[in-house]
């Protein structure tokens, strides 16, 4: 089970461009979604004239389903420079990999709750760490895509693009580097030094 909580308003605001498409995922039934806070946020953004469109849906971790649902929003998405996603980490990663040329911003931190998790995603994974890093990494989770769960960049163990620990796995930080270059966000690599807060990680 998991809980998502909205990040601080200033944190979200600092990530947004001028035109934003908003995706809310009410998710699988095991999840708690901060509905009221999210609605308030959407209202504020709309009042500021930033929103090109929005959708509230569920199971955005299923890329095929999401694609169908977003079809009718194609113009609104096209007109946005940022896609703000309020969902668990898997949902944000799914959207980020679908729109590789847009800035995809995670609005939430994902915390774990003991118990069963509703979806088993094939491609993306979220450890529910409680302080989502996706806004610093172009929407690729550094905790699950890097064998050492590094949050400050690549170690010295990447060979031919693969991870030293598992040569069958692409190095997560090589992927992050490429993605950030692709979306013109290499400045994210100059973010302040990150130190994990295990107090928010109930898995420990």
């Amino acid at each position: 089970m998991l809980i998502t909580e909205l990040k601080a308003k200033e944190t979200i605001a600092s990530q947004l461009g001028s035109k934003v498409f908003v995706i809310f995922c009410h998710g699988c039934k095991e999840i708690r979604f901060p509905e009221k806070e999210a609605d308030d946020l959407l209202e504020e953004l709309t009042a500021a004239g930033k929103v090109t469109g929005s959708i509230t849906t569920d199971y955005i971790c299923d890329p095929d389903q999401l694609k169908l649902r977003l079809e009718k929003f194609a113009a609104a998405i096209e007109g946005a420079d940022t896609i703000l996603v309020a969902s668990c980490g898997v949902g944000v990663q799914t959207v980020a990999s679908m729109f590789e040329s847009k800035k995809v911003v995670a609005a939430c931190d994902t915390y774990a709750l003991p118990g069963f998790q509703g979806v088993t995603p094939l491609e993306h994974d979220c450890k529910q760490c409680g302080e989502c890093y996706l806004n610093l990494t172009g929407g690729i989770c550094p905790l699950t895509a890097c064998s050492k769960s590094l949050v400050n960049g690549q170690c010295g163990g990447c060979k031919d693009g693969k991870c030293e620990v598992d040569p069958g796995m692409e190095c997560g930080w090589e992927r992050i580097q490429k993605r950030l270059a692709q979306i013109g966000r290499l400045d994210a690599l100059k973010a302040p030094i990150q130190i994990r807060n295990y107090a928010t990680d109930v898995n420990i």
């Binding site: 064998s147 050492k148 769960s149 590094l150 949050v151 400050n152 960049g153 690549q154 170690c155 010295g156 163990g157 990447c158 060979k159 031919d160 693009g161 030293e164 620990v165 190095c171 930080w173 090589e174 992050i176 580097q177 270059a181 290499l186 690599l189 100059k190 030094i193 990150q194 130190i195 994990r196 295990y198």
Partner: protein
Amino acid sequence: MRITELFDNGQFVVTAEVGPPKGIDASHVVEEAKEYLSGITAVNVTDNQSSVMRMGSLPACVMLKNAGLTPILQLTCRDRNRIALQSELLGAAALGIDNILCLTGDHTKMGDHPGAKPVFDLDSVSLLHTVCQLEKGVDLGGNELVGEAPKFAKGAVVSPCSDSVDAQLAKMERKVMAGAEYFQTQAVFDSEKFIQFMEKAKQFGKPVQLGVIIPKSAGMAKFMNKNVAGVHVPQEMIDALAADKERAKAGITGVEIAAKIIKECRPYCQGVHIMALGWEAKVPQLLELAGI
């Protein structure tokens, strides 16, 4: 003596690396270092290198210091959380060890205890940041230290011949942001690549020591190409090592190759770091051939 003072004086800094034993008798490590490495600036002592369990870096550093050498304490984030790392740093400073090299560390799966829990509570960047905090008299939890704060020459590593050199440069920049004062590189066998790397790395304004391994044989070179990240020995060097087995066995070919790389790269870097991997006895000859 902090080696940053020497970089500041424009000295070309030579360091080499030794590994503590898997056991309690480190006398041969100290003897070899005394015999072959006392002419150089400082000696790195590895921290359970390649995730293979050995005597700790700190006690071995103290033994070398007592023998008159200048040790550099290597510290990885693989085996200790932030409490243990800070505690180790305070202990090092108390014992007079004031040169450190901060690394993330290899994964536990790479070593001789693959079932061990990998820690990585901090990483090389956040460890450097932590050291700076301690130097300000505050720990990572925000609590004040009692008495004098420690002061270290803070080193870090970078892999200039890595095939993902952009990610390496980005990480290097973060290390500088976090307080790294000098860099030692992964072993270089391609001077051209190193020079290109230095063109980009010099913007950070920190001294860089060229990493050098003396290739022992064609087999070792091929092994590194296959298994060691960031290391690529060009085919013509492998051929040279294979061509004259006698000379290669005696170490002559390998020493010549390493000396040539040092000579070619010297104008572009501020020092050299030799990973002798058991061939400490060849270091004086290498330095002589390289003209240092």
